[in-house]
Every structure is written in C-alpha cells, then in structure tokens.
C-alpha cells in the first residue's frame, strides 16, 4: 500500500492499526479456549433454574452499561487520533449496546419489579433484547466491511468534533426511539415471548440471524489484515456466539444457569475490547516514555560528540591555518624588500603548501572518524608503527630527560587500521605520559611502549609512565569529553583516542601503574592468512 509511507509513526502504536504480534495471538487463542472450556463445563447444567436471582440483573446491567460506555469513549479517542469512520461506527455500536441495556433491564420482569418498570408489556424486553442482539454484531460487521483504519480511504477528512457529536446524537436518538417503540407501541411488536420466562418460536429467528451476522463478521475480520483491534473483535464475536448458543439453545429459559452463563459471556464480550484498549494504552505509554528517554540520551550523546568534534577541529586546524597566514604575510614582506629575497619567499611558500597538506590530513581524518566503518584500512605492522612513533618522540623525550623503553613482541599478527589515526592515538598517549612526568624529580622518568599478542586474533599495545598517575575515581572519567586534569587542557584527547580505537574494533582502557598510569588498547588482527600478511 503506497500510503503506508506517508502515515505518521504514531498511528503504528494504535490498537486499530498496529499489527498483531505472536504473543497477542496466543493470548487471544488462550482466552477463546478458556471460554469454550467454560461452555463445555456449564452445558450439562444449563437447564437448572435459579429462581430468585432476578435481583442480580440490575448489577449485571450496570456492569454492561459501564463497560460499554467506557469502551465507546476509548474508541472515540482512537477515532480522534486516527480519524477512521470504521472505528467511530464501532464506538457507536458499543454506545448503542450500553444505552439500550438501560430500558432492557428496567423493563425486565422480575428484576426491578415483578412486571418490570416503565409500564412495559410481555414483548417489550424481548424486543429491546432482539434489537441489541442484532445491532451490535451489525456494527462489528459494518466495521469489518469499511475501509481499513489508517488507509487513505479509511480516513475521515471532515472536522472530528462534529463527527463525534453527530454519531453520539444519532445513537442516542436511535436508543430512545427503540425504547419508545418497545414501550409505547406494544401493539406493533412481534410476539417473541409466550410467557415471562419462555420464548416463542418466532424468537428463534433472532439468535439465528445474530449467529449469521457474527459468522460473517468473523470471516471478514479473519480475511482482512489483522490488527490488534480486529483480533480481539474476533474474540468478542466468538463469546457472543457462545452467549447466543447458551441463551437460545442450551438454557432452560430466563434465570436458569445456562442463561446466567450466557449473560456472563455477554459481559466478557463487552469488556474484552475495553481491557485490550486499556492495556495497549498502558503499554504504549511505557514504551513512549522509554523511547523519549532514549531519544533524549541519544541527542545528548550526539550533541556532546558534536561539540567535542567541533572543538577538536578548531583546535587542530587553527594551528596550520595561523601558520599559513603568517607565512603568506612574511612572503609578501620578503617580496616588498628591495631587492626581493626570493629564497625566503620560496621557503615561506613551501611552508604554506606543507601547512595546507597538514590541514587537509586533519580534515580527512576527522571525516574518517565520522564515517565509521567506511574508513580506509590497510594492513599494518604494529611494531613498525610503534617504532615510528618512538622515533618521532625521541627528541622530546630526551629534552625532558625521559628514558623510553620499547618492549615489542617478536611475532605479531598484522592489524588492519588507519595509520594516521592510530599514530595520533599513540602520540596522544605518549604526549600525556610526557606531560605527567614533568613534575617527577625523585626518580628516573620513564615511558614504556609495549606490544604483545592478545589471544590468537588481537594485539595488545600499552603506553605506561611512572608519573603521578590518576586518582581512583578518575579511571573512567578521563575518557569523558572536556574532562581534564591539565591546567589548560581541552579534555578531548582521550575521548578521541577511545573513539578511534573502538572504531577499529578494539578497546582502550586505563590502569593505575605502580607508580604511574598505563593505557592499554587492543586491536583485532587483520582477518586473513596471518603468515602471508607479514611484510
């Protein structure tokens, strides 16, 4: 269906349009089995007459009235969101069933008064019952015949409040008209009852027609795409069928055991949709709260990553940018001299080119960080990479009188990775170690870079120093953006390192040394034959 794409997402959560999951189908089937089982259990005793139980009828009628009205209200609520006329028809059906139960119970002989209230005759109650019995399945049938909720045709385009008001008014008028007809025009009523507790042969037509309506509704609902509401309406129809079977076929007339059992099924039929709507609403609310929380968390995470990223771009790109501007200014000044010093101009221009390349590399690797998984990976020898990093830092280390130890495993599987990023991570870690060692005067300052195989399919790399280390509480916080222990640090370095290592499928963590700090990370070995990959 082409319109499904345009549907707002919230419709998917409504019981009238959300698809049935397996658990729901199982629950509906279990309830159905229970109802049939209960029918089988009551059937042998159905004819036992329970005289004097007429006083319970008002309670029953009240329960039916309340559940029908509540169901109608909830369905109207669904209609206002979904604007499906089918749902509004269903709501009208419930409203009608709820309203007509009032005159039905009031006129019922032996309930409020021996002859019933409102001056009803022998046929009044039966006539109202017949209209209820046929009207409700007719509404479900109408619901099943109308266009699916959520589809383009099944959406009410007009104003919602007036549609709701018109339906309620129509149902109200209909209920009043039926009651008035049954009470005031008793001469027009067919002879459905022969006595207060015994039905005539003509009455048999009513359950027969009702059974046909229920079966038609069942078939239509079954054949249609089954949403949650459809599924439970099928349960409602089944319990209505059982009710009819009990009342018309098995029971021994009014106030017999079978008759009361049938009434109970009627109550179940009335409350199934109410319970489903209520539980769906509760579940929906929980799900909604959870997804809002998840969305908020996600947005916060995205925001802080974005902030971190922009800060790191500003930090990294500004240096070459500033250097380019100054070099260009210098070149102009060398040119303006008389005679122009072309050697200096050339030197300045080539520095500009270098800075441009450097800025380009930073931008490229930042983009690569964003574009996780699509990064250019190449097979890398970890030891060569570590050696390269050590060589880069040798002068700085010597300047700070730090002894560097490289402890490399002899054979390591090659890893797949982005050499620029991994080098940045290592430089970050070594730079941190160096910074931590600046205040150390009572022992030989040392940094150790080590590699070791980690199991068969990974390499473990560690950078340790014997500086002051970090506090026990800071072990995980140091990886958070903007957390820093340096007087003018940005708090970006370790967060960047961790995101790079995790993008490589590895793990980065910090351990306290004795003394100092040790940062370790793993990199998964490149998949493929290990022996051939060595260069």
């Amino acid at each position: 269906m082409q319109t499904t794409l345009e549907e707002p997402v919230d419709r998917l959560f409504l019981p009238s349009s959300s698809p049935v999951d397996r658990g729901q189908r199982r629950r509906a089937f279990a309830l159905l089995l229970l109802l049939v089982g209960a029918l089988a259990a009551t059937a042998p005793y159905a004819t036992i007459a329970l005289t004097g139980t007429g006083i319970l009828l008002p309670a029953y009628a009240t329960a039916v009235l309340v559940t029908d009205l509540m169901t109608a209200i909830l369905l109207v609520g669904v209609f206002t969101v979904e604007r499906s006329p089918a749902v509004l028809l269903l709501a009208s059906g419930y409203l009608f069933a709820g309203l007509t139960v009032v005159p039905w119970a009031l006129t019922f002989p032996g309930a409020f008064a021996p002859d019933g209230l409102l001056g009803g005759g022998l046929q009044s109650t039966a006539a109202i019952a017949a209209v209820r019995r046929l009207g409700f399945p007719l509404c479900i049938l109408g619901y099943a015949l109308m266009a699916r909720p959520g589809s383009a045709r099944g959406t009410w385009r007009g104003p919602v409040p007036s549609a709701v008001a018109a339906s309620i008014a129509a149902v109200f008028l209909l209920a009043v008209a039926v009651s008035w007809l049954a009470l005031a025009e008793q001469g027009l009523l067919p002879a459905l009852m022969t006595s207060r507790s015994q039905a005539s042969a003509l009455w048999d037509l009513v359950p027969g027609a009702a059974v046909l309506l229920c079966l038609a509704g069942l078939i239509l609902l079954w054949r249609r795409g089954r949403c949650v509401l459809d599924l439970w309406l099928m349960v409602v129809l089944c319990s209505l069928l059982i009710e009819i079977l009990l009342l018309a076929g098995l029971s021994g007339g009014r106030f017999s055991l079978g008759w009361w059992a049938g009434r109970l099924y009627g109550l179940i039929a009335a409350s199934v949709v109410l319970l489903v709507l209520l539980s769906e609403t509760t579940i929906l609310q929980g799900r909604l709260a959870r997804s809002i929380a998840a969305e908020r968390r996600g947005r916060e995470a995205r925001l802080s990553t974005l902030e971190a990223l922009s800060a790191s771009i500003a930090h990294e790109v500004n240096q070459p940018l500033s250097s380019m501007v100054t070099n260009a200014d210098a070149a102009v000044r060398w040119l303006d001299r008389s005679p122009p010093d072309l050697a200096e101009v050339r030197a300045a221009l080539s520095r500009i080119a270098e800075d441009g390349h450097r800025a380009g590399r930073i931008v490229e690797s930042t983009r690569a960080t964003l574009r996780r998984g699509r990064r250019e990976r190449q097979p890398l020898e970890v030891n060569a990479l570590l050696g390269h990093v050590a060589a880069r830092w040798r002068d700085d280390l010597e300047l700070d009188r730090v002894s560097l130890r490289l402890r490399l495993a002899e054979t390591l599987p090659p890893v797949a990775g982005d050499p620029v990023q991994l080098e940045q991570v290592l430089c970050n870690l070594v730079g941190n170690a160096l910074e931590a060692l600046r205040g150390v005067d009572d022992r030989v300052r040392s940094v150790e870079i080590a590699s070791a195989p980690e199991g068969e399919r990974a390499v473990l790399i560690s950078v340790s120093d014997n500086g002051p280390g970090f506090g026990p509480a800071d072990g995980e916080r140091i990886f958070e953006p903007f957390f820093t222990t340096k007087p003018d640090g940005l708090g970006m370095g370790l967060m960047f390192c961790r995101s790079v290592i995790e993008a490589h499928g590895g793990r980065l963590w910090a351990e306290p040394g004795a003394p100092g700090a040790r940062f370790r990370f793993t990199l998964p070995a490149e998949s493929g034959p290990v022996a051939e990959a060595g260069r």
Binding site: A314, H315, N318, Q319, P320, L321, S322, S323, M324, V325, T326, N327, D329, A330, A331, R333, W334, R337, D341, E344, A347, A348, R351, E354, D355, R358, D396, L399, D400, G431, L434, E435, R438, P487, D488
Partner: protein
C-alpha cells in the same frame, strides 16, 4: 627598521607556526631566535640587546601564562606578546594583568603582531636605557667618599652650607670644598641637576 640592534624571541611548540613567525619577523629586520618551550628559552644563550618575547599560551610543557608568573621569567624582564589559538576573555585578562603588551588570537594580522613587537622593543629599549643611565650614576656615586655622600644627601635636602657645617661639625669652608668635589664627581652642572641625580639614586635604593 631597527636592524640587528634588537632581538625577538619566539616560543611556540608547533614547529610550522614557529618557522612562519621567524620568517615574518626576520623579513622586517629583527634578529629572531625561536624555541619550542620556555625551558629551552631559559637554557639558551641570548644576545644582550633590546628584546621582546612572542609567547604561545598553550605549550606542551608549562603554559605561557604559567611561565610569565614564574620568578624565572621575572629575571628575564622581557616584554611579552601573547599569541594563542583559543583565546577567551579570562585568559586575555590574566595575560594583560601579567603585564603582556598584547594578546593576539591566531590567525592574527601580521601588522598587529609587528606593531606589538615594536612596542615591546621600544619598551625594552627604554628600560635598558634607564637601567644603563642609572648604572652610570651609581658608578659616579661610587667614587664619592663617605663624607662627600653625607654632604650630597644634605645638599639634596636643600640645606644651606652653614646648616650642613653645623650638623656635621665642620667648618663652612670644608663643606664648600666637599660640595665642589661632589659636583665634579657626579658631573652635575648645576644644583638642581645634582638634586635630580641624588633623587634617582635614592629612589632606586628604596626600590631595591
């Protein structure tokens, strides 16, 4: 511009920024020495010339701001121009309070830097001239005898010869002779000039 008679020191941990600053400053005729850390600056042998320091705030070791509040910097007595990639207002306030000439955010206009450096150099030249003039006066004072110093101090206070003679228990004639000696040794052409010289020495000794 002022050629080899001035020096500019650049401290920035980014080599390419360092080289660009060096080139820019050399192009206008400054003698430039650049360092990657303040430690390297302190360890280096620096020419004895009017000088100015261009200092990055964010350095790998001690930051530029920490450095200027350190006693080792006070001994250098250099005017400082700060440059930084991320300047904020508190940072610039700290820098200006620490006596910076200027606080420039990268990338900056070359003229801004050159102007700031120029001001720094002028300041340092002035400071050096002051210092050497003072050293000269102090050298002259060193040639005075103890008695002559006493006489100079009283003369500077505005006492008459008669009063000085009474205070020191000398004859007025002897005071006159001492006074003439003081004028000659201090190379003062007039009494007001001698008073000025004595005041400067007095001010310097109070400062110390």
């Amino acid at each position: 511009m002022n050629s080899d008679s001035t020096a500019v020191f650049v401290v920035d941990d980014d080599a390419s920024v360092r080289h660009s600053l060096e080139s820019l400053l050399r192009s206008v005729g400054h003698l430039v020495q650049s360092f990657e850390s303040t430690e390297a600056l302190l360890a280096a042998e620096r020419p004895d010339l009017p000088a100015c320091l261009v200092l990055d705030v964010r350095l790998r070791g001690r930051s530029g701001l920490e450095f200027v509040s350190d006693p080792s910097f006070a001994a250098l007595a250099l005017p400082v121009v700060f440059v930084t990639a991320h300047g904020d207002i508190p940072m610039s306030v700290t820098a200006m309070k620490a006596g910076a000439i200027e606080f420039l955010t990268k990338p900056f206009r070359d003229q801004d830097l050159l102007d700031a450096v120029h001001r720094g150099l002028a300041l340092d030249r002035h400071r050096r001239a002051e210092a050497s003039a003072l050293a000269e006066i102090a050298a002259r004072e060193a040639t005075l005898t103890a008695r002559e110093r006493e006489v100079m101090a009283l003369v500077a206070e505005g006492r008459l010869n008669k009063q000085i003679a009474a205070e020191l228990g000398l004859s007025e004639m002897t005071v006159k002779v001492h006074r003439a000696q003081v004028m000659r040794k201090m190379q003062a052409g007039s009494l007001p000039e001698l008073v000025r010289l004595a005041d400067r020495l007095e001010a310097e000794s109070r400062k110390a």
